[in-house]
């Protein structure tokens, strides 16, 4: 009998945890990089599905994190040596997203505890995998901060607190801007629901960012047939040089 009850309890616990679920919709799940690509906006909206009534306690908060493909990065610091500024110390970051945008329904430090941030790697400081960085240099943390600062200035990283609208603790919506200097790859949109600083539900969706048309063709050609691509570049250059010369001679003689 006791065993049966324990089993019931065990079965009930996950159900308790998944009491609130995200139902998500994206305005588009594919971003096409065309020749005139000038950035993109993605509308992320959805609802919170519940089997029971809204639980009591602090209200539900929503965090949306959109991250691009990860890659290793080297951060270098300049130092004055013999009168000139040269790259001196360097720190390797094992993996950092090339794009990372976070939108929240409230101040980050109020709606997500540090432990939960660490576990779910939500804030950009946590999303960067800097394992081993501290062993490379004493002030490695400064290098990581600098990397974040540089990418923030470059519109690659952003944190927008309070731009996720939550209605009736059930509906939410936000818009994330993607800059024109996007790289290709699979972007992941993560939606986290938090209550009192704790994550109660999470949902992931993939957004495919791809070059299309001419961009796709040229990119593939340059990687798969580099020799042909090089010759084509030269042919275009020589033709352009010749035609400009010919046109100007016509103008002069005509």
């Amino acid at each position: 009998m006791w065993r049966f009850l324990t089993l019931l309890l065990c079965l009930a616990l996950p159900a308790q945890a998944a009491q609130e679920e995200v139902v998500l919709a994206l305005s588009k799940d594919q971003v096409s990089i065309t020749t005139d690509f000038d950035g993109s906006e993605i509308l992320i909206f959805g609802a919170i599905k519940r089997e029971s009534s809204i639980p009591e306690g602090p209200p539900i908060e929503v965090i949306v994190a959109l991250s691009g493909p990860d890659s290793p990065v080297t951060v270098r610091r300049k130092e004055k040596q013999l009168g000139i500024w040269v790259n001196a110390d360097a720190v390797d970051i094992a993996s950092a997203p090339e794009f990372y945008a976070v939108a929240t329904s409230g101040p980050m430090n109020e709606i997500l505890t540090d432990e939960e941030d660490l576990r779910h790697r939500v804030s950009v400081e946590r999303a960067i995998l800097s394992i081993g960085a501290a062993e490379q240099l004493e002030d490695a943390q400064e290098f990581i901060k600098a990397a974040i600062r540089i990418r923030e200035n470059n519109d690659q990283y952003s944190l927008n607190e309070g731009i996720v609208q939550v209605d009736e603790q059930t509906l939410f919506r936000t818009e994330i801007k993607m800059p024109p200097n996007l790289t290709e790859g699979n972007y992941t949109a993560r939606i986290l629901l938090t209550r009192g600083g704790h994550v109660v539900a999470q949902h992931d969706a993939v957004i495919d960012v791809r070059k299309v048309g001419l961009e796709r063709f040229l990119y593939n050609l340059s990687r798969q047939q580099p020799f042909v691509y090089g010759l084509m570049s030269l042919a275009i250059a020589i033709f352009a040089g010749w035609s400009a010369s010919a046109v100007f001679r016509l103008i002069k003689n005509g």
Binding site: P72, T183, A237, A240
Partner: protein, 306 residues
């Protein structure tokens, strides 16, 4: 109008690129330099990744030089024989240069070395040209002073394998032009430029070629070396952005045509003093970057090789 560059993976204004290409093209046509030493730093400035800027610039120089050299061929101001000797040296030099470049890259600090190369060579070349052409102008303004047409009769004339370069009116050994070609080729590959700004003064002061044929011959030589560099970059680093190159070269070839025509109306001394001033200006800017404390001490790079 914004345009997305497929290889550089950034979005830039198409008219900005056309304008930059045109401006540098005018200078290139006037002075017989590829313009790479101006364009490459400008491309860094508008946010093109350095590797792509250097490789694409090589491709663009092919176009503007080709456009320029045709005009010179028609005016018979190209010493083809001299050009071929220089090209032979240039290709050897470019191959050596790429090896040196990759070696330096494995040591790290390649950015610094490229910049130091720029500062040293631009400074020396610009300074020498400036002083020399200033003296020439002063001399020509003195009434009654005979402009002594004294050819250097130094080590250049004491070497074997003499060849006659009819267009330049020279009878010198083939070794100095070959060496000049190699040196320029090495520097061109390391600095990511055509090398005209070194080639032009080397031809005037070391080989003693008449200024009239220097520009055309330099352009003729640059085409081969930059075409070779383009292929090298396209096949090894995949960093030639053809969309960027087309935008730059459309502006560039038109500019080069205009520049070649302006160049005809200027005296050789004036041309040289203008080129010298420009070279010194770029050198000064780069030197300041090295000497003054940068606003951002940190920089990001691809992982590995530091």
């Amino acid at each position: 109008m914004q345009i997305y560059l497929p290889i550089a993976e950034v979005s830039v204004n198409a008219f900005l690129l056309l304008g930059l290409g045109g401006l540098v093209g005018v200078l290139s046509g006037m002075f017989g330099v590829g313009g790479g030493f101006l364009m490459t730093p400008l491309l860094f400035f508008i946010g093109i990744p350095p590797a792509v800027a250097v490789a694409t610039e090589a491709n663009q120089i092919v176009a503007s030089s080709f456009s320029g050299v045709l005009a010179h061929f028609r005016r018979r101001t190209v010493d083809i024989k001299m050009g071929l000797v220089l090209q032979a040296g240039g290709l050897m030099g470019a191959a050596i240069g790429v090896v040196v470049f990759n070696y330096l890259k494995s040591l790290g600090q390649v950015d610094l070395l490229v910049k130091l190369c720029y500062v040293v060579f631009l400074g020396v070349v610009g300074g020498l040209m400036f002083i020399e052409s200033l003296n020439a102008i002063r001399k020509s303004q003195k009434p009654g002073a005979v402009t002594a047409k004294k050819r250097q009769r130094g080590w250049v004339h004491a070497m074997p394998f003499k060849m006659r370069f009819r267009t330049s009116g020279l009878y010198i050994s083939a070794i100095p032009p070959l060496l000049v070609g190699i040196c320029v080729g090495i520097l061109a590959a390391i600095m990511g430029v055509g090398g005209g700004f070194i080639m032009v003064p080397a031809m005037i002061y070391i080989l003693g070629m008449p200024t009239k044929v220097v520009v055309g011959t330099s352009l003729f030589q640059i085409i081969t070396v930059t075409a070779f560099t383009t292929m090298l970059h396209a096949t090894t680093n995949y960093t030639v952005d053809i969309v960027l190159a087309v935008l730059l070269l459309v502006g560039g070839v038109i500019g080069a045509q205009i520049g070649t025509r302006i160049g005809v109306y200027l005296k050789a001394e004036q041309l040289r003093i203008l080129l010298a001033l420009m070279v010194i200006a770029v050198c000064g800017k780069l030197a300041l970057d090295l000497l003054l404390m940068p606003t951002e001490l940190y920089s990001l790079g691809d992982s590995g090789g530091h």
